[in-house]
Amino acid sequence: MPVKLPAPSFELTHHRLDNGLRVLVAPDRSAPVVGIAVLYDVGFRSEPEGRTGFAHLFEHLMFQGSVNLEKLAHFRYVESSGGSFNGSTHFDYTNYFEALPSNALERGLFLEADRMRGPRITEENLANQLEVVKNEIRVNVMNAPYGGFPWIYLPSVLFDSFANSHNGYGGFEDLESATTDDAKDFFKRYYAPGNAVLAIGGDVDVDDALELVEKHFGAIKKRSVPKRPNFGEPALDGERRATHDDPHAPLPAVAVGYRVPDPVNQLDDVLAAVLLTEVLTDGDASRLQRRLVQRDHLVTDVSAYLGEFGDPFDERDPTALTISAHYPDQSALDRILTAVDEELDRVATDGLDKGELDRVRTRVVSVSLRELDAVMNRTLELAKFELLHGRGELLEELPARFAEVGEDAVRAAAAALQPDRRAVLELIAGGGAEQ
């Protein structure tokens, strides 16, 4: 008998405009705040060769004014309404969102509709945001120890195609060669209403919200929607190894990546892999914390996760399971890898301890419930499940799906992580006592 786990419930309403825009409304009248999220079905993977980082640079351009709004107007309207905003670019999608007091709902919808009509792509805005993006990369990657490790670098070892393996932040040379024509083409191709999901969560009446959506988004012209290529790659047939030099890192680090099943079409396998990562590294009772940190004193910290950014549901096929660690002694890498293999083998061969699976899945569900408390996160999650999995409802169903995962499935997930199927990226620490 599996443990009883609480599940969220969102009273979802779906709607589709004539121009193809998919709309999702999840009312919650408990606090006077709303979340608005627009997700476009384009991410790093769809960047053309020679234009690494372009999807993210383009995301910045979507904040630089639109058909009816000058530069800076978007920020000023959101913040002077008491709200906050952001956007982010992922492997398979790009999101734009606002959290607002509920009396700013119509204003927020207008702002999103206006940039879906078209951003103001000018030479001046492009030149300005090119510098901003380069500074974003400097602060997060080039000037930071472990910057971009491993998400920028591991895909180039684990995957083969340009789409899956390139640096999503982009090289400066590629970013600098981007033109306003590139941006106009990218918008035309990927930012059609039919290629987007709009989600509204929080303090709204469903009928009022849908009426406002029709009013502001309804007149946006329908455009053709690009067919998404299949980016899948077969499992590795031999171990791959590479190194990455980090001039600022004081201690070495390693990231071990494995290709995992298609998260959309083989969801149950992925849920088993999620539970495996928690068995391996979530908290002081987990297998690798006990072995590598507490018993063998080989690593400073270790974490295992699905999805390049640590969210197992953030990507379509292909995606990765990563085990990453910082460690003080550079010569310890092979001992660390051997210990990881032994612990994976123990799970695969001997199974789990009594109560281990239930406590781990109880925590997984409680963590995900907690993340849904904020209306903005909830709205973004619903939009993401609607876009990538085709069903926002999946977010409500996950606790029950986790409850159904059996020990055998977790053992099978561990058994799949064989040494000849992994990519090992070793970070060479060039920092240390500098100053």
Binding site: A31, S84, N135, A285, H326, R370
Partner: protein, 440 residues
């Protein structure tokens, strides 16, 4: 080209629901604040204990104590403890700074009582077993090495040293050699002396009746005793100002500026005006500093200014990371924006914008159980509570343009700041020296 569409007006705001809240002081002196916040079936837990001390070895011992607190209690080892907490759908961790030790966590609401029992075990019967202390000590030395490789940490340490001199606030992170010398006996003594309920505050926020949460706390923590510690700590010195300190960091492709100054406490009548002045300067995206340095010049990904409230006083910190070749121009623009705010009035439009943003961001940050719990825990250290949160919008709306100008003149003058920059000194020193006094 058709006529531009108008941006829709705001509609009538809806008031937030009043939350039910109860506060009590247990017989052992622990204050317990419980707030029912409808929503997900989780309760957020924040136990805050004063941890200020002027003893030289305190920072290292306090940091190791926070790392080792959860490694065993009441006969359970660290793995058994962690498994028990995980099985409740819960989490607990400890963090420490110069002012306080906080044990924070969350748990499925049905398991609150059991999680508080674990907290009770941690505070009354901690193990600090030699092997676990040694493991955590070594890890902490490694973690400190990693932290100090970050330019933001180098800059924060340089600014704290320059601002606070030999005051305990000058030390944010302990030195590795001090950490390496910490013993289990010292941790037990520190725990006994300072992990006491006397001046502590426990905040519980979740979808449960407040009375039930308080009863659970009382049952779990009644056996914990000890009067509040009374550390002798000198008053906070005035920040000295002086030349811009340049700290060299090899291979830096950016320069990290930190400007520190005094600020007002939340209960000062002029605090709302200072809070708004800070937003106008660099506290939100629409701020002057962001619009100038990022959206106009592209010198940075994002500058930010904020007010921090410490037990002994409040401070203002401005932070920005800029590309190395534009370090001096960024400094020039920053001095310009500071001088402009300190000497010229802000506009009515700016005031209306920051008022709405301050009110809205307070509402958003307290709209989740976790956000409300953290906010109430922070406020509790100053004797403030939910009333302060609900009363603050009216205080913000009452601020005038003139009051903001007064606060800005007092706190945002370029001469009011103590400043440091971390970067490639060989490349930035000469251009910076052209703009004002520098020191290497």
């Amino acid at each position: 080209m058709s006529a531009a569409l108008a941006v829709p007006a705001l509609t009538e705001p809806r008031a937030a629901r009043k939350l039910s809240s109860t506060e009590t002081v247990l017989d052992n002196g622990l204050r317990v604040i419980a707030v029912r916040k409808p929503g997900i079936p989780i309760v957020e837990v924040r136990l805050r204990l004063p941890f200020l001390s002027a003893k030289a070895k305190h920072p290292a011992q306090a940091m190791v104590l926070a790392e080792a607190l959860l490694t065993g209690a009441a006969g359970r080892d660290r793995s058994e403890l962690a498994a028990a907490i995980q099985g409740l759908g819960g989490d607990l961790h400890a963090s420490v700074d110069a002012d306080r030790l906080v044990v924070s966590g969350n748990v499925l609401a049905t398991n609150l009582r059991k999680l508080l029992n674990v907290v009770g075990d941690l505070v009354t019967e901690p193990s600090y077993a030699a092997a676990d202390v040694e493991t955590e000590r070594d890890r902490l030395v490694e973690k400190l090495t990693i932290m100090r490789a970050r330019p933001s940490v180098v800059a924060a340490e340089a600014l704290a040293t320059r601002m606070w001199g030999d005051h305990p606030y000058a030390v944010d992170l302990a030195q590795p050699q001090d950490v390496a010398a910490v013993t289990p006996g010292q941790l037990k003594a520190l725990h006994k002396a300072m992990v006491r309920p006397g001046a502590g505050v426990l905040v519980l926020v979740g979808d449960l009746p407040p009375g039930r949460m308080i009863a659970a706390a009382e049952a779990a923590l009644a056996g914990w005793t000890g009067a509040a510690p009374r550390p002798r700590v000198p008053a906070l010195p005035a920040a000295p100002g002086g030349p811009l300190l340049i700290v060299h960091r090899r291979g830096s492709v950016q320069s990290s500026f930190r400007f520190g100054g005094a600020a007002l406490t939340r209960t000062d009548p002029d605090y709302p005006a200072l809070q708004l002045a800070n937003l106008v300067f660099g506290g939100y995206f629409t701020s002057r500093w962001t619009e100038n340095l990022r959206e106009d010049k592209g010198y940075t990904y994002g500058p930010h200014s904020r007010i921090d409230h410490h037990a002994l006083g409040s401070s203002l910190t401005l932070s920005v990371e800029v590309a190395t070749p534009v370090t001096a121009p960024s400094y020039l623009e920053t001095l310009y924006e500071l001088g402009r705010l300190a000497t010229l009035p802000v506009t009515e439009t700016e005031v209306a914008s920051v008022q709405q943003y301050a009110i809205g961001s307070l509402a958003l940050s307290t709209a989740t159980q976790a956000g409300l719990a953290s906010t109430l825990s922070a406020l509790s250290a100053f004797g403030l509570g939910l009333d302060w949160v609900t009363g603050h919008p009216a205080r913000l709306l009452a601020v005038s343009v003139d009051q903001i100008a007064e606060a800005a003149a007092r706190f945002f003058a370029p001469t009011a700041f103590t400043s440091v920059v971390v970067g490639d000194a060989d490349a930035i020193a000469a251009p910076l020296a052209a703009l004002g006094a520098v020191e290497r």
